[in-house]
C-alpha cells in the first residue's frame, strides 16, 4: 500500500509539473501584459512599460520566467510558499489564500449537501423505479440541471432572498399557506415511504394533521423571529434517537445498548445546561466547538464500551450516533437563540451579495449566522445544479447492482430488505460514485466563477478571470496550481477509497 501511495504521489507531482509548464508557456504567449499601458495617455508611458517589463521579466526567455515562478512554488516544501507577484506588484500568496478559503466555504457546503441529498434521492428513486415519484424527481432534477446559472441566480435572489425578507418583516403563515403545504406533504411523503394503499393513506393523513398543527403553533410562538428548540424538545428528540438507533442496530430488547444510549442522553442534558453560559461566547470560536464535539464523541465511545458488555460494538455505535446528533440539536438551539440578535442587526437576513455583512460587529453566533445566511443562496444554487449527477448515477448504479446475483442470493437466504439495500447493494453501488465525487469537487472549485460573480464573492474564480483579462500570469498560475492539486489529490483519494470499498481490488 505504501509503495502504491508513493508511486501515485510521484506521478501526481509529475502531472502537476507538466500541467503548470504547459499552461505557463501558453499563458505568457497569449495576450499582451502591456495592453493597458499602450492605450494610456501619459508622457511617461515608455518608462512605465520598461519598469513593468523588468518587474515581470517580460524580456526573459520562457524557461527563465518559468523557473523564477517554479522556484517560488518549490519553497512550499521548505515551508514558505511564494506564488509570485501580480502585474501591479502585489503578492499573490495572501490573495490566493484568502480566495481559496472563500472558495472552500462556498463549495464545501454545496458539495456535501448535493452528495447527501443526491445519493438519498437516488436510492429512493431506484427502490421505487418507474413510480410517479421516480418520474417527478427525474423531471425536477433535469429541470434544475438544465437551468443556466445566472438565470437561476436571479430567480433564487427573487424568491429566496427578496420575497423571503419581505415576508420576514411580518412572518405569519396564513391558512392558505398551511393547507397548501399540508396537502403537498400529505401526497409526497407517502410516495417516498411507500407501502400498500391503506398504509399510504394513514401516513398521508398523519402528515396532513402534523403540518396543520405545527405551523399554527409556530405562528403562535413567533417561531420565525424567535425560534427555540428548548430543553423539552431536545430531550424528547434525543430519547427518540436513542431508542430508534437501538432498535435499528441491536433491537430494543438489548437493555445494555439501550441504557448506554439513555446515559448519553442524560449526560447530554447535563452538558446542555452546564455549557450554556460558556458557549455564549466560545473562546476560539469554531475550533473550540470542534474540540467540544471531539470530546463528546470520546465520552460516548467510553460509555458505549464500558456499558455495552458483550454488545459493546453496538452500544458504542448507538451512543456515538445519539451523542453526535444530540450535539447537533444543541448547536442548533444555540443558533436559534441568537437568531433575534441577527434580525436586529440585519432586518433583512438573506443578502443577495457578498460573503459576509461588512459592518456587522456582533458576537460569535451572530457572525456565524450572518455568514450562513450569506452562504445560503449560492449554496442552494450550486447544490441544486449538481444534484442531478449524483441522483442519476446513484439510481442507475443501484438498479444495476440490484439485478446482480449476490443481491438475489442475499434476498433468497432471507436477509431483511433494509440490510440488502444498505449493506449489499448500496455499498457496491457507491464504487462508481466515488469517481464522480472526486471529479465534481475539483470542478466545483474551479467552476464557481459565475456564481462568484453573480453573488459578489471574491474567490478563486475571480482571481482567475481577473488574471486572464489582464494577461497577468502569476494569479492564473496560482489558480491552476491550487485547483490542479485539488483535482489530482481527490483522484488519488478516490483510488484509495476504491481499495477500501471494493474487496476485489488489492494494491
Amino acid at each position: 500500500m505504501l509503495k502504491y501511495l508513493l508511486k501515485r504521489l510521484g506521478s501526481t507531482v509529475l502531472i502537476l509539473f507538466g500541467a503548470t509548464l504547459l499552461s505557463f508557456v501558453i499563458m505568457i504567449n497569449t495576450g499582451d501584459p502591456l495592453a493597458d499601458l499602450r492605450e494610456m495617455q501619459s508622457d511617461n508611458v515608455e518608462y512605465l512599460m520598461q519598469e513593468r517589463i523588468e518587474r515581470m521579466g517580460l524580456d526573459q526567455p520562457w524557461y527563465i520566467r518559468y523557473w523564477d515562478w517554479l522556484s517560488g512554488i518549490l519553497g512550499c516544501f521548505g515551508g514558505s510558499c511564494d506564488f509570485g507577484t501580480t502585474m501591479t506588484g502585489a503578492q499573490v500568496t495572501p490573495v490566493i489564500m484568502a480566495a481559496a478559503e472563500q472558495s472552500l466555504r462556498l463549495v464545501f457546503v454545496a458539495t456535501i449537501a448535493a452528495i447527501v441529498i443526491g445519493v438519498l434521492t437516488g436510492i429512493v428513486t431506484a427502490m421505487r423505479q418507474y413510480s410517479l415519484l421516480d418520474y417527478l424527481v427525474t423531471f425536477f432534477i433535469f429541470l434544475f440541471w438544465s437551468l443556466p446559472v445566472f438565470w437561476a441566480a436571479v430567480l433564487a435572489k427573487e424568491w429566496l432572498a427578496i420575497r423571503y425578507n419581505d415576508w420576514m418583516m411580518e412572518p405569519h403563515f396564513t391558512w392558505t399557506n398551511i393547507l397548501v403545504l399540508a396537502t403537498i406533504l400529505a401526497i409526497f411523503v407517502p410516495m417516498v415511504l411507500g407501502g400498500n394503499a391503506k398504509r399510504r393513506l394513514i401516513t398521508g393523513g398523519i402528515m396532513f394533521a402534523f403540518v396543520c398543527a405545527v405551523l399554527p403553533w409556530m405562528n403562535a410562538v413567533n417561531f420565525m423571529t424567535h425560534p427555540r428548540l428548548g430543553p423539552v424538545i431536545i430531550l424528547i428528540g434525543s430519547l427518540m434517537l436513542a431508542a430508534g438507533f437501538t432498535a435499528l442496530i441491536a433491537g430494543i430488547r438489548n437493555r445494555r445498548v439501550l441504557y448506554s444510549g439513555l446515559t448519553v442522553v442524560a449526560l447530554g442534558m447535563v452538558a446542555y445546561y452546564a455549557t450554556w453560559n460558556l458557549l455564549q461566547d466560545p473562546p476560539g470560536g469554531w475550533l473550540f466547538l470542534g474540540a467540544m464535539f471531539v470530546l463528546t464523541i470520546a465520552i460516548c465511545v467510553v460509555i458505549g464500551r464500558s456499558m455495552g458488555g458483550h454488545a459493546r460494538g453496538q452500544a458504542t455505535a448507538v451512543s456515538v450516533l445519539t451523542g453526535a446528533l444530540m450535539s447537533g440539536m444543541i448547536l442548533l438551539d444555540h443558533f436559534m437563540y441568537h437568531w433575534p440578535g441577527l434580525l436586529s442587526a440585519k432586518p433583512r437576513p438573506v443578502s443577495t451579495i457578498g460573503s459576509h455583512t461588512p459592518t456587522l460587529d456582533e458576537n460569535f453566533w451572530v457572525t456565524a449566522l450572518d455568514q450562513m445566511t450569506q452562504l445560503w443562496l449560492p449554496s442552494v444554487l450550486m447544490a441544486l445544479l449538481s444534484l442531478a449527477t449524483y441522483t442519476r448515477y446513484t439510481r442507475s448504479s443501484m438498479l444495476e447492482v440490484q439485478k446482480q446475483d449476490f443481491v438475489r442470493t442475499a434476498r433468497a437466504k432471507g436477509v431483511t430488505e433494509r440490510t440488502v439495500i444498505l449493506k449489499h447493494a448500496f455499498r457496491n453501488a457507491m464504487i462508481p460514485l466515488v469517481t464522480i465525487v472526486a471529479f465534481d469537487f475539483a470542478a466545483l472549485i474551479s467552476g464557481s466563477i459565475v456564481v462568484e460573480q453573480v453573488f459578489g464573492w471574491n474567490a478563486m474564480g475571480n482571481v482567475f478571470i481577473t488574471g486572464m483579462q489582464t494577461n497577468d500570469p502569476a494569479p492564473v498560475m496560482a489558480f491552476i496550481l491550487v485547483t490542479g492539486s485539488v483535482a489530482v489529490l481527490f483522484n488519488l483519494l478516490a483510488d484509495i477509497l476504491y481499495a477500501v470499498l471494493d474487496p476485489r481490488i488489492r494494491v
Partner: protein, 615 residues
Amino acid sequence: MELRKLSAATAILASGALVLSACTPGDDTGGDNGDTNGDNGAANGDADPGDAEGQEFTVEPEDGGKADLGDDFETAEDEISVSLGPQPFNSYNGLTPSNYNVYNSTIVDRLFDGFSYVGTDLEIYTNEEFGSYEVISEDPFTVEYTINDEVEWSDGTPVTVADYVLDWGTSRYIGEGMFDGISPNFGTYVPDGPQAESYDSKTFTVEYPDGAYADWELMVQYAHPSHIVAQETGIEQEELVDAILEGDEDMIEDIAETWNTLWETDPGTLPDEDLIPSSGPYILSDWQDGEYVTLEANENYWGTPPGVSTLVFQFVDNAAHVQALQNGDLNAIVPTETVDTRTELENLVEQGQHAMHVGDKATWEHLDIQYGEGSPFAETPELAEAFALCVPRDQILENLIHPVNPDAELQNAREVLSFQPNYDEIVAETYDGQYDTADVEAAAEIIEEHGAEGTEILIGHNGQERRHDTVELIQASCGEAGFEIEDGGDVDIDIAAGEWDVALFAWAGSGQIASGLNIYGWDRENDEPRPQNWTNYNNDDVSDAFETIATSDDEDEIQEQIIALEQAMWEDLHGIPLYVHPGITAWDSSIANVRPTPAQSQLVWNVEQWQRVAE
C-alpha cells in the same frame, strides 16, 4: 483625457468600464472639456443633468456644484452601501500608475479634500471650505493658493504648502529610482515648485514661466500627508520640503522610496491607521479585498460634517445591482445600461421606495477614419465622404440608445459634449446636419465616380454587443451604397496600432482642455503623429488651434479655437462622432441629496452630503 479601453478584455469586465489612465493628479473627475473655468454654474437654461424623479434634498442645490447644507447639518449614526461596479480598491495612494484609476479615485477622493471639484454640469467649482485660489499675475502666469486655517489632517497636523511641495516633487522627480508618479506635467510647467514663506505656510504661489496653461485649475488638487512621509523617511517635514525644492537627489531618492512603498500593502490589509490620515470627510476603516471598503466619518473634520457615519463601497458586478438594491444590500447603484434594467427599475420606482435617473455619461462613441497607409481612404480620401454619408447615425441612435435613454441626441462635436451649455453654440457654427441621416444615393454616386464599388472597409472595435449592432446597421446601409463592411470586433486587432480602416470606440472625458492635442495633433518638431493620433491626422489649422488652447486661460479664445478646429475636422472628416453613452443610476429614495453626474467622479461625487431622511 481618459481613454475608453479598447481591448476585448474590458468588454467582459463591464460595459461601462472606464479606463485606468489619465494625465494629471486628481483629474479623474470631470467631463470632456469645454469651458471649464470662469463663471461657475452659469445659467444655461437646460435642466440640471442630475435631476431625477423621487429625489429628495435637505437643501436644494442652486447650480451644478455642491449645495451649502448649512451650519446645523450633522452626521447621522447610519450606514449607506453603494456600488459602482466590480472594479476593486487598490490603495490609499491612488497617485501611482498601478493604482490610478477612476474606481480607486471614487474612494480616495473621500479621504483628501482639494481646492476644486467638478460639478454635475462639468464646471469646475472651488471648494471654499478648503481654501481659495486666484490668478495674481498674467506675466509670468502666477496663481496664489490659500488653504483655510482650520484645514488639518485627521491626526491634527495642519495641511500646508509642505504637502503640495511633496505633490509637486512626485511629478518633478518622476522616473526610475525616483517617485513612481503618474504625470510629469506639474513638474514641467512649474519648474520651481510651489513657493511660500516657510515650509508650513498656508499660502503659496505657483508660477508658469512659459505662460498660461489651459488646465492649470486641475494641476493643483489634493496632496498626500507630507508629515507622514517625512516621519517614515526619518527626517523632519522641513528637511523634506527643502530637499525637494532644492533638488537634493540623495534625499529625494529616500523620500521617493518611502512614498512609493509606504502605503503598499497586501490586498485586503490596510496600512497602520496612523499612516493613513485623512484631510477629507471620511477615513478608511476596513477593507476586504475584492468585496468592499468601509469608510468612517472623520471625527476631526474641519468642514461641514459628512451625512452618515459609515459608508460601504461594495465591488459588485453591475448586473447584480438591481436585485441588491431591491433587497437593501445596496442603497445606491450604477447598473448595466440595458433596456431590461430600465424596465426593472421603473417597476421598482413605481412602488415608491426608490428613485432612478437615466442620463448621459461623459463618454462619447465615434468612428475614426484611417488615412494612413493600407487604408482605402489613403488612396481615395473622397471615399470618406461617401462613408460618412452612408452611416445611418439617426438609426444608430434610435435603435441602440433611445431604448435606454429616450432623450439622447446625436453627438456632433468632439471637444464639447451634447449636454454641455456651450455645445449648441459651437455646433451651430461647425456642423449643419448633412450626416444626420444616411444618404445612400449620394454615397453611391461618389463611390461610382471613383470606381470603388466593393471596397472593403474593416471596422475595428472591442467586440461589445452594442458595437456589433452598430456595425450591423452600418453594414446594411453602406452595403447598399457599394461598400463591403467587415466587422472587426471578432478579429484580434491592435486598435492603437491603427490596423483598421475605421475604428469604433469611445473617449472618456477627464476635464482637461489640452488633451485633444495628443489625439488630433501633429508633432511638427519631429514630424510625427502625437502619441494617440492613430489615424495619422495632420492638419496645421487643427494643430495650431490645439496648441493655442493648451497655453490659454481665456474662455472666449478657447471657444473660438474649438469652433475653428471642429470646422476643420468636419471638413476633413477626421471621424464621425455618434452619441454620448447613456448612464443609469438608482438609489433608495429615502436618501437625500443624491445627485447623478455625467462626470467620471460618478454617482458618489457628493456622497458626503447623502443622508437618510424620514419620508
